[in-house]
Symmetry: C2
Subunit: 216 residues, 2 copies
DNA sequence: TGCATATACCAATTATTGATGGATTGAAAA
DNA sequence: TTTTCAATCCATCAATAATTGGTATATGCA
């Protein structure tokens, strides 16, 4: 009887190994970035503003839980998610958090709901409008991330280049901007800039990971 | 700029609150039980073999993450999952763990794959066979849990009563036994008993939570 | 070959969490 | 009202995790 309890505990402890990975805000930030495609330690550290050493040690935990894979190419080591289902779990968890935690809902409104902002929800009609060219879906992430994966019909103008490349965008149609997901500030900044310049800009919360889960 | 980083961190920390809940084996065990329906602290403590005090303090964490709700009825306090999506997340996490952790796969084989055991996978054909009466789907959990929710066409004989009630089961058809999920030992025990008594018994890994996710 | 770069590994420190025993609350039963 | 039972709260101690600095390793380049 004691034996059965021991086996059971072992099982739950294995699952808890996965849960632990998702229990630190830094690791979540890394996972969100890895959802956009493979990246080096250095890049991850820079984009999260975490020291390289600490980044490396958090990545180690992801590796030990078999949630990421690494590949050395030249001087760099590239990290990538071991499976699409890791991205799916990230989406599931942050979605549940948004459903259950009022604090999170309020904090999210601060970034996504600037006065007059809109958050597009209806994915089907968005695609339809994009296909017909009635709206422009704009990916403002760095271009490597766009190249790795992007929403259907999306065009890439990284936020950094947006100001110089405004002329590429039509003024007579809505611009729907998105980035890495609901916690990424790129799209919110892009929308602010576009509005200031007289465009009809809409902030889409979803990133590619959220989109993929919704499509499934 | 510092400000933006602070806001972002706040967001990830909120999500990490949810992750933390799933980072302890004891809490996972409690969540799995709560997936079977509402229960009192005492019951949860007894069924997990965790002290009441420790159970209470783990439940407190679930409560503070808004993943469970409580209701006092008489002397007891009943805990239940705040939303179906909490059960879904439990299923997602343990499924990912099973996909990624070889240790877990091996440990699971020990309980589900006794020599000659079979694990039914194909849900559609299972239902069809159950509807036609070609097999008997047997729920061996305590009857309150069966009453709360059970698989389509399932009959309830709690493991405790199984030996006395063997006569209720036909010998000419396969008995497909299930319990709370892949980490619960009830169905495995039931299958062992049934086989010993000359029944054609099959162990179904899914519990109601896993079934619900698969149906979605 | 030697040097620079990217990243991992190791050790020490601090912060957080888990577990346990004792005291407390709130409802029900005597 | 007093007692009992279920469950929580609080304080403490032990265990675990996060962070940082120092050092080691592997690769590419001069």
């Amino acid at each position: 009887m004691k034996d059965a309890r021991k086996i059971k505990n072992l099982l739950y402890e294995q699952v808890a190994r996965i849960g632990k990975v998702f229990s630190s805000s830094k690791r979540l930030e890394l996972i969100e970035l890895l959802c956009q495609g493979e990246k080096t330690v250095e890049t991850l550290a820079r984009e999260t503003a975490i020291s390289v050493k600490l980044t490396s040690s958090h990545l180690r935990e992801l590796r030990m839980a078999h949630l990421v894979e690494t590949e050395r190419r030249g001087k760099n080591i590239y990290y990538r998610l071991a499976d699409k289902s890791v991205a799916d779990l990230w989406v599931q968890i942050h979605t549940l958090a948004e459903e259950r935690l009022i604090e999170l809902q309020l904090a999210l409104q601060k970034i996504a709901m600037q006065p007059g902002d809109l958050v597009a929800n209806d994915r089907d009609s968005l695609i339809k409008a994009a296909r017909k060219g009635e709206i422009v879906v704009l990916d403002v992430r760095p271009s490597e991330e766009y190249l790795n994966a992007h929403l259907p019909f999306a065009r890439s103008i990284p936020l950094e280049e947006l100001r110089q490349r405004l002329a590429e965008l039509p003024k007579d149609r809505s611009i729907v901007a998105y980035c890495r997901g609901p916690y990424c500030l790129l799209a919110a900044d892009a929308v602010a800039l576009l509005k200031q310049e007289g465009y009809a800009a809409i902030h889409l919360r979803d990133g590619v990971a959220e989109w993929a889960v919704a499509r499934a």
